[in-house]
């Protein structure tokens, strides 16, 4: 593992660790309002100041990071499993199944990702509790984000289906189900890992986009998207630079994932 990947791992561990320790680092929670310090600049009591309704920004960043960093991988896991099931199985079965799976992925991929997300999110209930909005947002990412991965897995499983060792196993009388689970799925693992790691930064960025557009996680629950919405009210960059902390954190985390991703791509290749 080279220096940059080690650094990326350390950064991710630090960010995840501090977000998991949010209850200890910011015991007052993300929703408590300090009415005597509305829109306050950074101070000893509020390290990143407070927002326009007096909530501690540092606490919100910690809790928001926890939500984004725990649920984006969960959504990535869901989309990877769906891709494995749909793409892997269709590729293994081949013929009409593979063509049908490809037609469905073509349909999904003909729509720009952000447009698809916004349209689908709009059709879900918008006036829901914060917890439900978190689940709906990330569930939607997981349910819609499988298509590109399914395409790759369909092709990989298709090539495995015609490979010598699978043909030999089939000729030896191995049942189809066992052949799939014992010989095909283990060979799909590197691609599955790569697709999982690719999806995480994509989902983090997508949630941020949805949040800024007002279609993400509902208030008062924080997420990177809702925290970045604060940038909308800025008049100049130098005015309140501490408001950029969530953005810097997001860029650092996504960059760290990109470094780890390059390793996964190498393994998949």
């Amino acid at each position: 593992m080279n220096f940059w990947r080690t650094l990326a791992c350390v950064v991710l561990a630090l960010v995840l660790g501090s977000s998991l320790a949010a209850n200890w680092l910011a015991p007052a929670g993300y929703a408590r309002q300090y009415r005597d310090a509305i829109g306050a600049p950074p101070s000893r009591t509020h390290w990143l100041g407070t927002d326009e309704i007096g909530r501690d920004r540092f606490a919100r960043v910690l809790y928001g990071t926890r939500i984004s960093l725990l649920l984006a991988p969960a959504a990535a896991l869901l989309s990877t499993l769906m891709a494995a099931l749909i793409g892997g199985l269709a590729g293994y079965l081949g013929g009409v199944w593979a063509r049908m799976a490809m037609a469905v992925t073509d349909l999904f991929m003909s729509l720009p990702w952000l447009f698809l997300l916004i349209t689908a999110r709009a059709l879900m209930p918008l006036n829901v509790s914060p917890l439900v909005s978190v689940l709906v947002t990330f569930l939607l990412l997981g349910l819609l984000g499988w298509t590109a991965a399914a395409r790759v897995l369909c092709t990989t499983a298709g090539s495995l289906r015609t490979s010598d060792f699978v043909r030999q196993a089939r000729a030896a009388g191995l049942p189809g189900q066992r052949l799939f689970w014992v010989h095909v799925v283990p060979n799909l693992k590197p691609v599955l890992y790569a697709q999982f790691w690719i999806s995480i930064p994509v989902f983090i960025l997508s949630e941020a986009n949805l949040g800024i557009l007002g279609l993400g996680v509902a208030e008062p629950m924080p997420s990177w998207g809702s925290l970045l919405k604060e940038l909308e009210g800025l008049v100049s960059v130098g005015e309140e630079p501490w408001k950029f902390v969530p953005l810097i954190l997001l860029v650092v985390v996504v960059t760290s994932f990109q470094f780890l991703l390059s390793r996964q791509e190498e393994l998949a290749a």
Binding site: L114, L215, L228, L231, V235
Partner: protein, 290 residues
């Protein structure tokens, strides 16, 4: 020529089928969405029981998705795309009014994105300096890690045109492919030989590199249209530009379902046309070379 005609015919059929399926998919989502059956006019205390029943009957045929979609297609074939629930205007008029701004934004954004992509990718391939390569990778990687909506917000903050925001959203995606294609093309043995024999850089580029990479770059160009259309939503919404992207965002927030169905079909059509167009031109170019 015959294979090109087949190619165009195949693409046209795929395009038609995908657009129709996309419309059906969108209509199904609309039909299944909570609140589809609700009409707030029923709450009007001035309406009597018969009027309320008449309103319900008017919506009755929409309950069957296929019937709903078929009636929508029939109306659309006669130029009636329905009426926006939130804005109270015909969808056709709304789309016609807003299309020029979005087209201008996309055209300028894509032009700038490709100018940046080709300038940086060509210079990376020509210079072959690891420092420059690292620098361009870091620049494009940074933009890749920024959410599109943040770039739109920053463009408002710095008072730069929305087309630049679109360019900066699209360029990191296209740069990565273009750079790899050009570096690979420049490392081909016949180009190394041409360089060793003292052939000019311009001649090498236009005679030996461009014909090789153009079909693949065209495919990336097709995909970049889809990226730009997606980017137009946050850019128009957050920069206050009254285009189709902003309309899509407003329709989403207001759950304006007739408008969403039409925009979905339009967006599918535009992205598929761009991808199919790029594929057909690439195929024609490869055919000419052969």
């Amino acid at each position: 020529m015959r294979s090109l005609r087949w190619k165009i015919g195949g693409h046209a059929l795929t395009l038609l089928a995908t657009v129709l399926l996309g419309g059906l998919f969108s209509a199904t989502l609309v039909r299944l969405a909570p609140g589809f059956d609700v009409d707030e006019r029923e709450l009007d205390p001035h309406l009597n029981a018969q009027s309320v029943q008449a309103l319900r009957d008017a919506r009755h045929q929409d309950r069957n998705v296929l019937q709903f979609y078929f009636s929508y297609l029939t109306r659309a074939a006669h130029g009636d795309l329905g009426t926006s629930l939130a804005l109270g205007q015909p969808v056709g008029t709304l789309l016609r009014d807003r299309a020029p701004l979005t087209l201008q934004l996309l055209g300028l954004g894509l032009g700038l994105a490709w100018l940046l992509t080709l300038t940086m990718a060509l210079s990376a391939a020509w210079l072959r300096l690891s420092v420059y390569d690292t620098l361009t990778t870091v620049v494009s990687g940074t933009f890749l890690c920024l959410p599109a909506a943040v770039l739109a917000l920053l463009s408002v903050l710095w008072n730069v045109p929305g087309s630049l925001a679109i360019a900066l959203i699209v360029f990191p995606h296209t740069y990565r492919y273009a750079r790899n294609l050009l570096v690979k093309a420049y490392s081909r043995p016949h180009i190394i030989t041409a360089r060793a024999k003292g052939l000019g850089e311009a001649r090498i580029l236009f005679w030996h590199v461009v014909p090789v990479v153009t079909p693949q770059l065209l495919a990336v160009a097709g995909v970049s249209v889809s990226l730009a259309v997606g980017a137009a939503i946050p850019v128009e919404a957050l920069c206050g530009l009254a285009g189709i992207g902003q309309l899509a965002w407003q329709a989403a927030l207001a759950r304006d379902l007739p408008l969403l169905v039409n925009i979905t079909i339009l967006v599918t059509l535009v992205t598929l046309l761009a991808n199919s167009g790029a594929d057909v031109i690439g195929h024609a170019m490869r055919g000419q070379e052969a």
